[in-house]
Symmetry: C2
Amino acid sequence: MKAYNDTTYAILGILTTDCKSGYAIKQFIDRSLSHFWKISYGQIYPTLKLIVQEGLAEVNVSTTSGRSDRNEYHLTSKGMDTLKNWLEQPLQQAPVERNEVLLKLFFGSYQSPEKTIAILQDYKNRLEIRYEMYETIEKGIHQHNKDEKDAMYWLMTLDYGKRVTEAAIKWCDHTLKNWS
Amino acid sequence: MKAYNDTTYAILGILTTDCKSGYAIKQFIDRSLSHFWKISYGQIYPTLKLIVQEGLAEVNVSTTSGRSDRNEYHLTSKGMDTLKNWLEQPLQQAPVERNEVLLKLFFGSYQSPEKTIAILQDYKNRLEIRYEMYETIEKGIHQHNKDEKDAMYWLMTLDYGKRVTEAAIKWCDHTLKNWS
DNA sequence: GCCGTCATGTAAATAGTTACATGATTAA
DNA sequence: TTAATCATGTAACTATTTACATGACGGC
């Protein structure tokens, strides 16, 4: 079976929900997937074109009064098979997360401790904002998608985000404490 | 002050250690930086060329008997200033870590629970291997770089890796328990 | 009339990996 | 002599972001 990149599979997956247009996909990603996957329009539209070319989805124009026309993409059975096949494949080598904070900290001896502390404090603030965002998304799922069979899986990914973010916040606290 | 990409700053930072050639930089990254930053030769050599063009380092050929000639790069004061200036800059918007496991889990309802469990188990194994790698690097720093002023900072980045990985492992356990 | 949202798309630039090419030295 | 390590580099490809271009509709 032909292989595609993960971004293509992400879009195939989203097309199983009721997000069917490029615009709706972008919104879905920003609202529900953004803690572990981001895609820009510059990737979405060309990828949708590819998906149709490959026969993984069919497109039809939906005209709703009071709205711009939208292209609706519907998975074909070939598209669904392709998605399921990818789900079954073993994990690829995990790409290393590039962490700008750690990179700066690594060379911290060329900087005053005050500056390093400021960076850590800033990072901690960002992590806390992120944690709150996860909780907001979580509440949204509990309220609006409680019955959906997908909801449980979506909540698991959020739980991951919360746990890892919490550990990072604790590391900030611990590291900051070593200086005071 | 002119801006470069983070990979360029990473290389400038490494040139402050006693790794002075492209080959030595690659080894240093693979041994000490690989848990949060990876760079391939395809980036290192062109970037070193750029660094010299920009006057951030000077190159001279070192001939050691019984070794191939190696190009040694030495930071200029302009290079050192550029590094220090970057260290002081506030953090950029943190790029989202793309996580293939979470992406597959997100669409887990299109797969049998057994397959999902297998993916989580596989992920947990990888995380455990990664955790052990961190401990190995940590021991190496304790033994060989104890006196270096950088060592403390290097250990902090490893502590981050360990804490975050531990949290991810616990999430795997917790998520797997929900199915059994 | 203007702003926000809905909606689709492309071009150029940037970033990064992979595969390839080359060649010296050393130890088994 | 052959494999491993040291050493440098490029070309092609893949991935991705950013900035731009366009336009409709609804509400203030």
